[in-house]
Symmetry: C2
Subunit: 219 residues, 2 copies
């Protein structure tokens, strides 16, 4: 490097979960200006003794109170005006949790889950970040490999539940019988022997992912 310039770098975290058949993202409401009252992605400035990964993990823990999760890097954002106060490089990370977070009622007045396709008013360039990264995440879920679905559904689920989520991500409907075959015939899931019993209608069979079979599998 011929010369040194200094930049402010922040880690921006996109926490996703599957909830009620929708891909959702966890946001916080800004308490102070700029963008007071707007929703934003959790983020933290990067200091000189922390790696981006460690920083992302800290944000995750601060936001959720949990510390186990699937996390990976996504894109960086460097537009000169993305933050009104200064030129800040934003490096995004994706975290995936299972739906437990929602069920634990972690929603408060300043933290909430939003469908990625129905976002509230967002501060900074966070709408742009969410749209860019979500597109990538959706593509990963439906076209790439295993790990993502597994992260969203680490424990028991019914096939209709999985299918709703999958259709939401894919953006189109799938025939139920074909969806069933895709997962059952390929042994990607196994029947736990339990059934759901909530609400009206026939109870659904609870499945779990067959981790070994998922490995490196295209779905």
């Amino acid at each position: 490097m011929e010369k040194s310039y200094y930049n402010v770098v922040e880690t921006v975290l996109l926490i996703y979960a599957a909830d009620k058949g929708k891909l959702k993202i966890y946001l916080k409401k800004k308490a102070e200006n700029p963008y007071k009252g707007y929703w934003t992605l959790p983020s933290a400035p990067l200091d000189n003794e922390t790696t981006l990964e460690e920083n992302a993990k800290k944000i995750y823990e601060g936001m959720t109170g949990l510390n186990e999760n699937v996390m990976f890097q996504s894109k960086s954002f460097s537009d000169l005006t993305r933050d009104p106060s200064a030129r800040i490089i934003g490096i995004s990370f994706v975290a995936i949790t299972d739906k437990v977070l929602t069920e634990m009622k972690q929603e408060t007045v300043d933290k909430a889950w939003f469908e990625v396709d129905e976002l509230p008013k967002l501060g900074f360039d966070h709408e742009h970040i969410i749209k860019t990264v979500s597109k990538e995440v959706k593509k990963k879920i439906v076209t790439n490999y295993d790990d993502l679905l597994l992260a969203f559904f680490p424990s028991d689920f019914t096939l209709p539940e999985l299918q709703n989520f999958y259709e939401n991500v894919l953006g189109k409907a799938i025939d139920r019988r074909n969806f069933h075959k895709k997962f059952v015939n390929q042994d990607l899931v196994f029947d736990t022997g339990f059934k759901t019993s909530k609400g009206s209608g026939r109870p659904g069979t609870l499945y779990r992912f067959n981790v070994d079979k998922m490995k490196g599998k295209r779905i």
Copy 2:
């Protein structure tokens, strides 16, 4: 952001091309310490008036003298000791050129192409970066979608040429008849009507990618 910390940020560029059936990367030899005489990835510090994309483009132009190319972001590297002089955040970009660069003999004493699986002694954490990013690039080439192969082979090629490259990237051999069908039967390529005529052996048919058919196609 509660508090501001300053970091040095650099854009690191990985320029790839397909050459003689191999996936290669374009490196430069460091003229000064640290790592004098070692090969390194081209890189440039990020100033406060340039985006990462613009910076990557500048590096590309400086390194190749060209300005048209396929380019996209890849991972960021933030280990505290990745540069011995200071804590520097490295944000990597991938550029893909067609093999013309090699044919134009752009290799000089301090710039050369190396197979990604046979790297020379590298400075900084560049071996780590190359291995990490190359893994991702290879995966993209063989499992994801269209654009990558198109970027490597923008104009005429023979199927054996493409196959050699594909096998190198995939890390295993493919049956020639099946490879042929995969591309020809699906109309992903079309016969230009020309033949190669170099060297011994039967001349090969020159094909070109059928851009429309490639769109969003898994290969």
